[in-house]
Amino acid sequence: MNSSESEDQDVNIEEEELSKPIILAQATKGMEIQENSDPFNGTFVFFDEDHTLGNSLRYILANQPNVEFCGYSLPHPSENKMNMRLQTVNETKEKVMNDGLKCLSQICDIIEDKFKQALEKK
C-alpha cells in the first residue's frame, strides 16, 4: 500500500500492526485459575460466561459439602469474564468445582427426563 507509506511520515504506525485484527471481546470459552497458590482457596475465571452459568453454579456449590465460601461476580460488563470465588475445607477446590459442575449436569438430565415424561402424558 504505497499511498499510506508516503502519507504517514509523522505517525509511527507500522504496516504490520494495522493489518492485525483487533480483538474486541473474548469470544472463546475457557476457564483458568488466578494465582493458583492455595489448594483450598481460589478464584476461577470463566471466559465468555455470565449470570446464566454463574448464578446456578454458585447456588449448587454453596450447597455442596466442604464448601466454606462461594460467590461470583462479573468484574466489568465490557469484559466477558466471570470470577467465581471458592473456599473449601478438606477437599481441593478443583475437585469441589468439578463435583459441582457434574451435579449441575445431572440436574439437567433429570429436568429433561421429567419434561419428556410430562410431554408424553399430555
Partner: protein, 316 residues
Amino acid sequence: MDYHKLQFKEDQIMKPFKQERFNIKQFQRDLEINILSKTDEKIVFEIINIDAPIANSLRRIMIAEIPTMAIHKVQVIQNTSVIPDEVLAHRLGLIPIIADPLQFIEKDDQEEYNELNSIDFTLVAKCEKKPNSKHDDPIEQQYTNTTVYSSSLIWQPKGQQAKLFAANPIRPVHSNIIIAKLRENQELNLRLICEKGVGKRHAKWSPVCTAFYKLMPSITIKNQLDAQRQEKLASLCPMKVFGVKGNQIKVVNPRNCTTCRECVREANGFEKDVELNKIDNHFIFSIESVGQYEAKDIMLQAIEVFRSKVQLYIKE
C-alpha cells in the same frame, strides 16, 4: 413453618431462611413437571420443587442462547423506495426464517460464505402501472407491488441445500409481513444472506416472542365470612380467583392470580381475612415461539445448551 412460602408485605419480602445440603436423589424424587397447555406455538407448564437460579438460567438461555437463522447481510443492488437502505436492512433482519439451525454452523468473520454457513434470498419488486387501470380504481389495483410483503423473499438454494431442505423448504415464517411500500417506478432489488446466530448477539436471533415464568400464588382465606362479604370478595378479584360454592368461598383458580393485590387492599376491607403469598419453588413457565421451533423444542434445546455449557468445564 412452610419454608417455601414467600410473604410479600408492602415493601419487603419475608422468607424463612433454611440452608440445606443439596441432595440430588431428593431433587429427582421431588421434581415435578406438568404441562398446563400446549400448542405448536405456545406452551405453559409448571415445574415444582426446583430453585430460582436454575429456573432463571433456563429462562435466560431460552431468550438468548438458542441459535436460529436470520438475515444478516443485505446487498443493495437497487433501492429507490422511500425507506433508507439501513432501515430496510434492519427490517429484513427481524423477519423470522424457518430453517433448521442444526444443519448450519456459525460463520467466522474470516470464512467465505458457503452452503453450510449461509442461506441466500433475493428480493425483487418494481412498482409499475397495470395496463388496463383507470384513475378511479384504488391504488393497489392500478399498480403492481404497491406493498412488498415477506412472501416476495425467494430462496436461492446452493449446493446440497435443495436436497436437504426438499421436505421443508426455507422460507419466512409469515408471508404477510410488510417490508416496504412502493409507488410508481420505485424499485427494490436486493440480495440477502442469512447467518446463524444467538439472541445474545442481536435480538433478531431470539427464537421466542418471549419466555417468562411466574411463581405460583398461595392464597388463603383465614376467617369465616358471611354470605354478603363472600360475594363482595369474589367480585373484587378481576381474574376470578375466588368462587362461591354453596355457602363457602373457595380459591378456585389460584393460577390466574396476577398479584394485583385488590383482595388485600386496605380500602376494600379484606386485608385481615385474605393472605396472599407466593410459593418460591413452584414456577409456571410460559414459552411463546416465534415460529422457527415448536414451543416444546425450545425447552428441550435450552436444557441441551445448559448441559453442554456445564460440560465444557468438567475435567474427568
